[in-house]
Amino acid sequence: MKVSLTALKTYLDTNATPQEIADKLTSIGLEVEEIIDKASDLKDFIIGEIKSVDHHPNADKLHILSVFTGSETLQIVCGAPNVRVGMKSVLARPGNLIPHYNEKLEKGVIRGVESCGMLCSERELNLSDNHEGIIDLETDLPAGTSILEYYKPDVIFDVNVTPNRGDCFGIKGIARDLYAAGIGTLIPQEIKPIKGTFISPIHVRIEDPDCPQFVGRYIKGVKNGSSPEWMQRFLINAGLRPISALVDITNYLNIAECRPLHVFDADKLTGDITVRKAKEGEKLDALDEKEYTLTPEMTVIADDKGAQSIAGVMGGTPTGCTSETVNVFLESAYFTPMSVAKTGRLLNAESDSRTRFERGIDPDSQVSGNERATQLILDICGGEASEIIIAGSEPDWHHTIEFDFGLVKKICGIDLPKEECVGILEKLGFTVNGNTLSVPSWRSNDVKQSADIIEEIIRIHGTDDLPYEPLRGAGLPVSILLPHQKREASVRRALAGKGLNQAITWSFMDSKLAKYFDSKGIKISNPIASDLDEMRPSLIPNLLSAVKRNQDRGIKDVQLFEVGPEFYSYTPNEQRLVAAGVRAGNITPRHFLETQRSVDVFDAKADALAGLTAADAPQNLQVQAKAPSWYHPGKSGSFCLGKNVVAVFGEIHPMILKIFGIKTPVSAFEIYLDNIPHQRAKGKSQKLLKLSPLMPLTRDFAFVVDESVEAGKIVSAIQSADKEKITDISVFDVYQGDKLPSGKKSIAVQVTIWPYEKTMTDQEIEILCTQIVNLVHKSTGAELRA
């Protein structure tokens, strides 16, 4: 809300500087977002008077002016079309900063003629967008007078009023808060009841409980000209456009005192006024030049013809005031915040009136507001007022709070003398009687309980002198992460340690892509963009999009991972935490020592395994050749514990890559962190390490098997030959080709045998090797390669 210093000073007597006022407002909860001080922009400019106008010898559209500054006459070249002898305008002299250009004016030579200043347009001074010609001041002020004398620019505070403070949507309320906080004294506003000279020919009937009270008055014989200059200035400073005296008066009281009003042209009303719910489909041409179709949830002010005004939101054009208006009917009513908020929301109609009603205006201001407005109308527009009409009664706003002043210390931790607390409350308008506080009408909407009182006291007192009281638990700090939280942190570090870069991508994605990733259709009804309309069923698609973005920027080899939620339900907590990663392009850049190769399934498997290890997954994971549909069916797999899949990995399906427009291979993995069982808590001490004093020996085997046989099966068969002595089994060659029958492959394995107690004899070694071959044969049908 824009509050000018002049407007503020009609309610508050103070000598405080604008900065002091702004700082105080900000501190007590009325944040000043900006102090707009036009005076500082304009202070160097003076009134200049054109004494002569000559044509420029070298340019058709330019004139050479002599401009009197009050003490001397300057030669100025000017291109404005509206120059004339005797005209007074705003003169900028060399050195003056021109606000619109933010540049200092310099003496210049224009087409061969010296120019020692400039006459300004409104745009050049940031007064308006008008740049048609120079400003024609039409003033009696003499040349040389500061332009501030003419414009009398005001300091304007742009105040951010929080939704709980309906009362501060009026300047009067802001003044009261400043007064309570020690800035100035309140100027009492006297309201004299106006004795009517006749009975209003229009009567009011309330049929809707959302309007507890309607106070009206008929005023006849008014003249709706323009409002006085001070009022226009007030409105302009508040960001409003002056329209006509009657409209300006209602806007003025709305902004100044948070008292929304409406003035009907009484001659355009038919019959009496009824406050009622709108009829289904009832229409109204409103003052914002829109036609609204109303519904029975909305309260309207109607005459015999139908709805003429949307209660608390906006008046109608057919009964609005014009320059021809002679007789008016003034409305000062109370509508419940809920009803106005709802109507405004349903119609999507914004107005200053709605802003105030829905936040709660002073429920005790219908009569006083009507009196204030009547007085202003009579003063400005003349006319004769009827007796006041009061329909309904003011809502019951009176309430008291039993307040324990000891709570200030208990909640805020600071000992404030009771007198100070009482003083603050009284200045804010509370009546304090021992521990019983009566809440003033204008705060009855937001002050309801002790906590609200504590807030009032501490916000006005301030927090600068709160004591230093650290919050310390007993004992020394311990780790605060739960096991699964620790796991997430270590997986993140482990994956980064594998050379993957951590990304954070949106939790949502394009439903058109989600369908390829086992989508459960968890959709957002109002997405920020149509391609961000579904909660992601997997982290992979957003990572693939990131691969594509990077590649489009020229980064072909991409390594990314993310740890975050994927969604499979609308129910809160039915989401699961996943660590997923992708590698695209080549595994390393081109290098003279390295053979370049594309990423493949084994890169994905290695990444998945690194994550699983960091997550402290059990050792006995089984690898299965099964993975979701977005993986290459032949180059993918999963890590499982029985039926429980803890991770999947593989190369991304070429069709998926095509959909994402990715031209390089991509390897990917997903670790379902929530599926990894927590290892049962064991002691911290490790199993005792037994080091063999003997030397290990190695034996190589080449097995020929059907090509469908998995190497993993061979390895576990070998291991079963001796779980202790066989300490390592490494597959060092896989061959399939001409030298073998078709459908066969050869798998070469190096087995490390490490005896512990005594050196093995040749015979013992021979026995073990035979056993290995037999076991592998039994399990896979393998034969030793000849």
């Binding site: 931790g413 002790s450 650290p470 980064a496 050379g499 959709k523």
Partner: protein, 363 residues
């Protein structure tokens, strides 16, 4: 004999010294000390001498033999060294060639890093870590937080609504975790809860997804002074400077009362942002004493229990601390950005060595 030796010795020594290769040296050895070498021949002559002469000449010959053998050995070492040096010289590589590609230097996203930094501080203060769901219901995100349906604050937070549901939304704030915690645990409660949050906003300074961390302390005595002190200590530790000044401005949040927005003193010189007192202010977080209605909604008696809550944007803290300009870039997954603003995997915030390398992360 003496004479023979005197004549032979200098000639032989010189020959050894002149030997240019191990082969030449071996030739000399064979020629002198070999089976039919010159010194060996002289040894053989000893037999024809008298006992006394034999003894004397034998001594002389032995000395000569040792001297020559030593000289050969010495020259052998010299030549071997020379040969190796020549070989090594021929193996010279261009050391300006690049190292093997480093495939183990991934980075941690600044948001994760900053969360860990924050948790390191809150761990010291004895807070627990709590979590809540991203898809939230109206009760936990609004209603229980004292934001009824008609409340204007609902419009302040542009909410994402879930399709086909009555009351499911994407959480607009982490404050729902306050409710979930109080519903499930009796005080004393002392938690922080970081997480993803969502609002329907997308421009220079807003993204539809961002991160918040929530703090909640509930017991029978924690007060506003504790809140202010806690935040003050937190800021000092987080920004790794003692020159911290805080400004509490009264604000309005439905779930706390009194409520404050907290500004921290800062300066901007030559485009560089710095936390310091006395220059200017920047808004950092919102906080306040938990509203009695919120306590009631969680089944706690506000006459018995009280405490504070605070919430702040993690991304914003990361931007301020590490000088990252554009919020939108946080969620773009641009490899260049992550590598530039991200953290090394072993750069783990801790109390022992501090939150960040070089106290402020200049790397």
């Amino acid at each position: 004999m003496q004479q023979k030796i005197d004549e032979m010795k200098p000639v032989l020594l010189k020959e050894i010294q002149m030997a240019a290769s191990l082969t030449a040296l071996e030739d000399i050895r064979v020629k002198t000390l070999g089976k039919s070498g010159s010194i060996t021949s002289l040894m053989k002559e000893l037999g024809s001498l008298s006992l006394e002469e034999k003894k004397k000449a034998g001594q002389l010959l032995n000395t000569l033999k040792t001297e020559i053998a030593e000289a050969i050995e010495k020259q052998k070492e010299t030549l071997a060294l020379k040969e190796m040096n020549e070989k090594l010289e021929s193996e010279k590589v261009d050391v300006t060639l690049p190292i093997r590609p480093d495939t183990h230097s991934g980075r941690i996203h600044p948001v994760s890093q900053v969360i860990e930094e924050m948790l390191t501080i809150f761990a010291q203060m004895g807070f627990d870590l709590a979590e809540g769901p991203d898809v939230e219901d109206d009760w936990h995100n609004f209603e229980a937080l004292n934001i009824p349906p008609s409340h204007p604050a609902r419009q302040m937070q542009a909410t994402f609504f879930m399709e086909n549901t009555e009351d499911k939304i994407l959480r607009t704030q982490t404050s729902g975790v306050q409710i979930r915690t109080m519903e499930n645990k009796k005080p004393p409660i002392k938690i922080v809860a970081p997480g993803r949050t969502y609002r329907r906003d997308y421009d220079m300074t807003h993204t539809p997804m961002f991160h918040q961390i929530e703090g909640l302390v509930i017991d029978t005595k924690t007060n506003l002074a504790n809140l202010k002190t806690t935040l003050f200590e937190f800021m000092k530790l987080f920004f790794e400077t003692d020159d911290v000044s805080l400004r509490f401005r009264t604000a309005y949040f439905p779930f706390t009362e009194p409520s404050f927005e907290v500004d921290v003193g800062c300066s901007r010189e030559n485009g560089e942002f710095k936390i310091k007192s006395g220059a200017g202010w920047i808004e950092l977080l919102g906080c306040g004493m938990v509203h009695p209605n919120v306590l009631r909604n969680c089944g706690l008696d506000p006459d018995v229990y009280q405490g504070f809550a605070f919430g702040c944007g993690i991304d914003r803290f990361a931007m301020l601390k590490y000088g990252i300009p554009d919020l939108r870039s946080f969620f773009d997954a641009d490899m260049r950005w992550i590598k530039h603003y991200g953290f090394l995997p072993l750069d783990i915030p801790n109390i022992m060595s501090g939150l960040s390398l070089n106290a402020g992360g200049k790397r």
